[in-house]
């Protein structure tokens, strides 16, 4: 038997992540996907859209607003939080760890909803990974910059060559069991205090 396409509403304040999820859902063959970035006016959207599934970022404090909405309007008939199958604790845990929460119209077959949640979960995870990598790259760059500055200070103040300045930083880091960047930061901070 053919099912009608499920209508999915994605609420995510992070526009990039929202588009990643949307793309994932479309790739999985869902055509009825609506994405909103803020909850302003969400009541009307839900009323007109009548979504079967609402995916919302678990860190979004407006989840409490959604609860209120479900109390007021009966347009989303008996929405249940999140979970396709309460017995399937692995799925629940995966969703929560990924930061996904969802509301699902009661009575939908779990085999129809599960793939949607799976897509959301994997896309949330992919997004976190991307963000982590970006943050790592950023901090690596910051660290390199600070080490360069510390080297420059040592070269100037102690008349060292670049190699000697670097070796001194590295040796100090090893002696003090600290990261090179931390020692470099101390040098920069100290220089800022002393030279002025």
């Amino acid at each position: 038997m053919m099912h009608r396409d499920l209508t999915i509403l994605v609420i995510d304040e992070n526009a990039i992540r929202a588009s990643i999820i949307e793309e994932g859902l479309r790739e999985a063959g869902h055509a009825q996907v609506t994405v909103i970035h803020e909850v302003q006016g969400v009541a009307r959207i839900i009323e007109t859209l009548q979504p079967d599934v609402i995916v919302i970022d678990i860190e979004n404090p407006n989840r409490d607003m959604m609860e209120h909405l479900f109390q007021l309007t009966r347009t989303v008939s008996r929405p249940i939080a999140m979970f396709v199958d309460r017995a399937d604790s692995a799925s629940i845990e995966a969703a929560m760890d990924a930061g996904v929460s969802a509301y699902i119209v009661d009575g939908l077959k779990k085999e129809r909803v599960k793939p949607i949640l799976d897509v959301a979960v994997s896309r949330f995870n992919a997004f976190s990974r991307l963000q982590r990598e970006l943050a790592d790259a950023k901090s690596a760059l910051e660290e390199r910059k600070i080490v360069e500055r510390a080297k420059g200070i040592l070269m100037r103040m102690r008349g060292l060559s670049e190699e000697e300045a670097f070796a001194l930083l590295r040796q100090t880091a090893m002696n003090e069991k600290k990261k090179l960047a931390e020692i470099a930061q101390s040098v920069v901070t100290a220089a800022g205090l002393l030279v002025r």
């Binding site: 989840r63 409490d64 609860e67 209120h68 009966r74 929405p79 509301y103």
Partner: protein, 435 residues
């Protein structure tokens, strides 16, 4: 996180052991329960104080418990994380376990409250603009009288309707919250219908003062410290505190899954002992400075310590001009059995759910609502009032009245709800069954 589920199943063994229920059993027993670390979800509010004090000032450790406090952003999350075993216990709005037991909300999973986390902390703040109209157009005589404030607001709303102005929008925190019921109680006491004369929306507590400043809302009812934050910023006027509405009104409770409580009787007992000691400590004036310091920390409420200190003292700056009002017992963490989960409070909550159309009255509803509060667990560990006191007539004692003078007797819930002039129109059926 993963271990919690295993504990739940291993816990079955404990149920075959004799019930001692005293906090004196050997530590090896607690080891068998597996839950020396108790993961507790909380929302950054001053009324998480008892949990914070238990974790920060050694009360939990003394009982052999590591209290792992996890900050969350929404009550819906707290409820779900408790239901799905990411938390063992949680800082919850008192009506949340009641709603769960009644099957209300989008994820009603059985939740019990064996301990209340104290009374107080709520207040209602209106925008300075709306308040100005209450003074100028509403004929407000005594600005310190909460009921007078509500009546003046009613007169302003009447004028707004006559002028065809948009009606005020007010924020609260959650459909099953003391704030929702207290705000509605105050409005209704002034003759305002919270469903048709104003628009009630949910605003997360930390956003309330910004929303008020931006004009997105015209007022809110929320816990501390957010009322004070708004009045300090000069955007809001505090018009009623919880003490004005009903001093005994239940506020936050410690929620847990009944299954978990059954599987970990020893942990529950130790936790209650720790929380009781922490609550007692929180009440002592000489500890308030240290408590304020701890709560102000970024890991907890993360607002300036000075504001928390004054909130704890109930010393309010009620308007942008800096007028002061000291509310006695604004925060009570322990004294007067503040931690005792009194079932008549759960039933009062149920009565308000009926009053506002969230629930319907039934015998089984009474049982379900009362079963959310577990004074038996409290009493086993900490003693407590006479069992006969579990169902008190509420609002009858001097100094503990409701703002409108009504008295709540749980044997007459239907009559009590019927007795309010302002209440939700009973559903006609069609309205509620539509799709």
């Amino acid at each position: 996180m993963r271990g919690f589920q295993r504990w739940e199943s291993i816990g079955m063994n404990d149920m075959t052991l004799p019930e001692t229920n005293k906090a004196l059993s050997t530590p090896s027993r607690i080891a068998s329960e597996g839950a020396r670390t108790v993961r507790a979800g909380f929302i950054p509010l001053v009324d998480s104080a008892v949990l914070v004090a238990a974790a920060e000032f050694g009360f939990a450790r003394k009982e052999g418990i590591t209290l792992d406090l996890v900050k969350d952003v929404s009550w819906a999350n707290v409820r779900d994380r408790l239901a799905f075993r990411q938390f063992d216990v949680a800082h919850m709005l008192a009506p949340m376990p009641v709603a769960s037991m009644l099957g209300l909300g989008s994820n009603p999973s059985p939740t019990i409250a064996p301990f209340s986390l104290g009374r107080g902390g709520n207040a209602i703040t209106l925008s300075t603009k709306l308040y100005g109209r209450m003074r100028e157009e509403g004929g407000l005589a005594d600005p310190e009288d909460a009921l007078e404030n509500a009546r003046a607001l009613a007169r302003v709303i009447h004028l707004m309707k006559e002028n065809g102005e948009p009606l005020p929008t007010f924020g609260m925190t959650y459909p099953f919250s003391s704030h929702n019921y207290e705000f509605r109680y105050w409005l209704a006491a002034g003759g305002i219908n919270p469903d048709s004369d104003v628009r009630l929306v949910v605003v997360p507590p930390p956003m309330t003062s910004d929303a008020l400043a931006a004009g997105a809302i015209d007022g809110f009812c929320v816990g501390a410290p957010w009322n004070m934050v708004a009045s300090e910023r000069g955007v809001g006027q505090i018009v009623a505190t919880k003490q004005d509405i009903w001093p005994s009104a239940p506020e936050k409770v410690l929620g847990m899954r009944p299954q978990w409580a059954e599987a970990h009787p020893e942990t529950v007992a130790r936790l209650l002992v720790a929380l009781d000691a922490a609550a007692r400590w929180c009440d002592q004036p000489e500890n308030r400075a240290a408590l304020a310091e701890a709560l102000a920390d970024a890991r907890y409420v993360a607002v300036p310590v000075d504001i928390i200190r004054r909130v704890l003292a109930g010393a309010f700056t009620i308007d942008p001009q800096g007028r002061q009002r000291v509310v006695k017992d604004y925060f009570v963490f322990h004294s007067g059995y503040a931690n005792y989960p009194r079932p008549s409070h759960a039933l009062w909550t149920y009565s308000q759910m009926i009053r506002w159309g969230q629930a319907t009255f039934s015998r089984s509803g009474i049982e379900a609502a009362a079963s959310a509060y577990r004074p038996d667990l409290y009493r086993q560990v900490l003693g407590g009032p006479e069992e006969a006191e579990d169902f008190r007539v509420e609002g009858a004692e001097p100094g503990d009245g409701f703002i409108d003078g009504h008295v709540f007797d749980r044997s007459m819930i239907e009559e009590y709800v019927e007795g309010f002039a302002v209440k939700a129109v009973p559903p006609t059926g069609a309205q509620y069954q539509e799709i």
